[in-house]
């Protein structure tokens, strides 16, 4: 191994370890570029991270002052743990190697008071000592962005193209639902399901079947599969719905629960994008059967962490805990960055011609990023089953805007500990989110229809249940990066999957290299040695 570590020049410097940045870092490393990848945090994932329970709890429930006292508190507790364990060892030695009759002290009565509120005890193994707490908390993977993967989407294709990612374990998500008249219904995606779905009226069933048949058969290159008299580019989605005789409600659930638009502005735009989205939904649904979605068994952070490992095994250098001090420009072009050396902490300048960074590294810089929206999310930790979902282990529920007299849909994302390793047994992580419409100082009020749906209406919380409200500003870059070589990624939007993230990856790759990114063509060596 090259022992000099940090060099003074890289082909690409990536700042931030959200999924978008980690995919790009992986791709450029695989392509043979020298990549330096840094993040100000001590963990991977940035805005798209999933956090362990300890970290999640303390960032949400502890003040910065309380967090500052944490290291000291941990050390004091660990000292007590070591002393108690030493006592037990001595007892064992004196009693012929047996702990029988040993009265262990109640550690929690010995520990000093916690600087901030303690976790609900039920969320970890009963009686877990401070020594055991990290492992207990690591059983939780709480996602900051409530997103699934489309089973036939681009991200899935990326993962399939890179052998080093093949052993990521994914499970299918149990169901995809849309709410009508206060009850969740499975979204029908095949002709058979259309026939039996209580979502659509008798008359509409036939029309919906025709529409789904058209979707299933559609091939861009085969005019015989196209709708006669309609074009994807010159006709709107409204025209298509009309041509199939689909009524307002049927088109609403198609647009919102299959094409996954958060509002109705798509209706009067060309039909190509919505049709492609519906095709993606239907094909994803057909992959595994229960829903169009899959999710990593070990939570969302599996993705940025795995892509970062791809980057590392192909030579990328990674430094967490390394903030971006300054971007260096010469004559309007970025020429490098100043960072604190990860070992010596001395400021160093690293040169590069290509800088990729997430927008949170440019907060407040209106020449670089602009705000495009605001999302409110409630991450709920619950221990009851959501009504109307037939006990599935994971689900997406969409409440269309029209059902709530809103402009934007409310999304519910649920993964439970039944099959996913994301929480303590008996618990589910549920995210309720929407785009903020009002100027209220309490945007979480806009989530109320979602809270009602998951049994947490009117501020109700069951025993050992909690709700964490987060308001997140969404940003996009002002410029495309080609003039100054600073390529800024987009925030994770309100959609329920990562398709816009992979669009961003492809787009940035093309802006940087001038070439289309074809993942299937990446020159990936077969890294896993097979000896069988």
């Amino acid at each position: 191994m090259d022992d000099s570590g940090l060099k003074d020049q890289y082909d690409v410097i990536v700042v931030g370890t959200g999924l978008t940045e980690c995919i790009l870092s992986g791709i450029f490393s695989v392509e043979g570029k020298a990549v330096l990848h840094i993040d100000r945090n001590w963990y991977y994932g940035g805005e798209s991270a999933s956090l362990d329970l300890d970290h999640f709890w303390k960032t949400n429930k502890w003040t910065p002052e309380q967090r500052a006292k944490d290291a000291e508190y941990q050390a004091a507790c660990q000292k007590i743990d070591s002393e108690e364990e030493a006592k037990a060892r001595v007892y064992k030695k004196d009693h012929g190697g047996s702990l029988e009759g040993y009265q262990a002290a109640d550690r929690w009565s010995l520990y000093p008071p916690s600087p901030g509120p303690r976790l609900p005890a039920a969320w970890v193994k009963p009686g877990a000592t401070m020594n055991e707490l990290p492992r207990e908390c690591n059983k939780w993977h709480i996602p900051l962005v409530p997103k699934f993967l489309m089973a036939d989407g681009e991200l899935t294709k990326f993962i399939r193209s890179i052998p080093a990612l093949h052993d990521i374990e994914f499970l299918q998500v149990g169901g995809s639902y849309v709410v009508r008249s206060d009850a969740p219904h499975k979204v029908p995606s095949t002709r058979m399901e259309a026939l039996s779905s209580p979502l659509v009226s008798k008359m509409q069933k036939l029309y919906l079947q025709n529409f789904l048949q058209f979707i299933a058969a559609y091939k861009d290159e085969d005019p015989n599969t196209h709708r006669k008299g309609l074009s994807l580019d010159s006709n709107t989605m409204r025209d298509f719905y009309k041509s199939f005789g689909l009524d307002a409600w049927t088109s609403e659930f198609i647009g919102h629960a299959m094409a996954l638009y958060v509002d109705d502005s798509y209706l009067d735009k060309p039909a190509r994008e919505p049709i492609q989205r519906i095709i993606l939904y239907v094909r994803s649904m057909a992959r595994f059967g229960k829903s169009p979605y899959i999710f990593p068994r070990y939570g969302l952070n599996e993705l940025p962490e795995r892509f970062s490992r791809v980057s590392a095994v192909y030579g990328g250098l990674h430094a967490l805990n390394t903030p971006l001090q300054e971007v260096v420009y010469q004559g309007g072009k970025m020429t490098g960055v100043k960072i604190l050396h990860p070992e010596t902490k001395a400021e160093v300048t690293i040169n590069t011609k290509t800088l990729i960074a997430d927008p949170t590294y440019f907060l407040g810089d209106s020449t670089k990023i602009r705000q495009v929206g605001k999302v409110v999310r409630a991450i709920c930790i619950i221990n009851h089953q959501i009504e109307g979902l037939a006990g599935v282990d994971s689900a997406q529920i969409i409440i269309p805007a029209s059902q709530m007299s809103r402009k934007n849909d409310v999304y519910i994302f649920m993964v439970s500990s039944t099959n996913f390793k994301v929480a303590q047994e008996g618990y589910s992580i549920v995210s309720v989110s929407t785009i903020v419409e009002g100027n209220d100082d309490q945007p979480e009020r806009e989530l109320e229809p979602g809270f009602v749906r998951i049994g947490l209406g009117s501020g109700y919380l069951g025993r050992n249940e909690e709700k964490f409200i987060q308001v997140v500003d969404l940003y996009e870059p002002v410029a495309d990066g080609r003039s100054d070589n600073v390529y800024i990624t987009r925030s994770y939007d309100a959609t329920t999957h990562f398709e816009t993230c992979t669009d961003d990856v492809k787009d940035i790759f093309k802006r940087i290299t001038g070439n289309e990114l074809v993942v299937e063509n990446l020159k990936v060596q077969q890294p896993v040695e097979e000896d069988e």
């Binding site: 492992r135 089973a151 080093a164 499970l171 952070n301 095994v313 192909y314 000896d531």
Partner: protein, 217 residues
């Protein structure tokens, strides 16, 4: 490899992670074990997600190691938790000529004991044993006494070997000792990994059609 098909044959697969300071010879140790090679000026393995090596413990028992290298991410404390998630065993390596590397190894052991699987088997390996030999051409560069490291390993409940990736001394012995300590009876369909806790098997992304069933190995 043991004959398959015989009912008395046990075959188990385990995830093994390597930890230790940069340049203590983690990759060299694996290369010696997996390919029986050594290169003084070797660059780190590029492109390897993991390497595998199988050892036959006896006529009826075969153990396959899936060996994960840090790929350099340990250098700036940038190793992701997924690295040791589900690891069944770990080799924590130090360099017997570099005292600070044992301190680093102890920190890794502590980290593993706090964060990894409860029943993870950890082995401590003092590498570069070849540099400890006194001979006509060299004087020993040993800086960490065997007894000191051994006492620490016993205290912390670790397997302990001094190894040389260069001469192959104790390399096979190290991995065999780990294999013997692993709970072979708990193996699942794909070794222990993924078999803990029941629940559905993961979906196979490479399968192109409809509903999937059965084995995806």
């Amino acid at each position: 490899m043991a004959t398959r098909g015989s009912t008395s044959t046990r075959f188990a697969q385990f995830k093994l992670v390597l930890l230790g300071e940069s340049a203590v010879g983690k990759s060299s140790l694996v290369l010696r074990f997996v390919k029986d090679q050594f290169d003084d000026y070797r660059e780190s393995t590029i492109g390897a997600a993991f390497l595998t090596q199988t050892i036959a413990l006896d006529d009826a028992t075969t153990v396959k190691f899936e060996i994960w290298d840090t790929a350099g991410q340990e250098r700036y404390k940038s190793l992701a938790p997924m690295y040791y998630r589900n690891a069944n065993c770990a080799v924590v390596v130090y360099d017997i000529t570099a005292p600070a590397s044992l301190d680093k190894a102890k920190a890794w052991v502590k980290e593993l004991q706090r964060q990894a699987n409860e029943n993870i088997v950890i082995a401590l390996a003092g590498n570069k044993l070849d540099l400890a030999a006194d001979g006509p051409k060299q004087t020993s560069r040993r800086a960490i006494e065997t007894a000191d490291a051994e006492a620490y390993a016993r205290e912390a409940g670790l397997l302990f070997f001094e190894t040389s990736a260069k001469t192959a001394e104790n390399v096979k012995e190290l991995f065999t000792a780990i294999a013997k300590k692993l709970p072979l009876d708990q193996q699942g369909p794909r070794g222990i990994r993924g078999a803990q806790g029941a629940g559905p098997r993961g979906v196979n992304l490479n399968r192109t059609n409809e509903t999937q069933q059965g084995c995806n190995c």
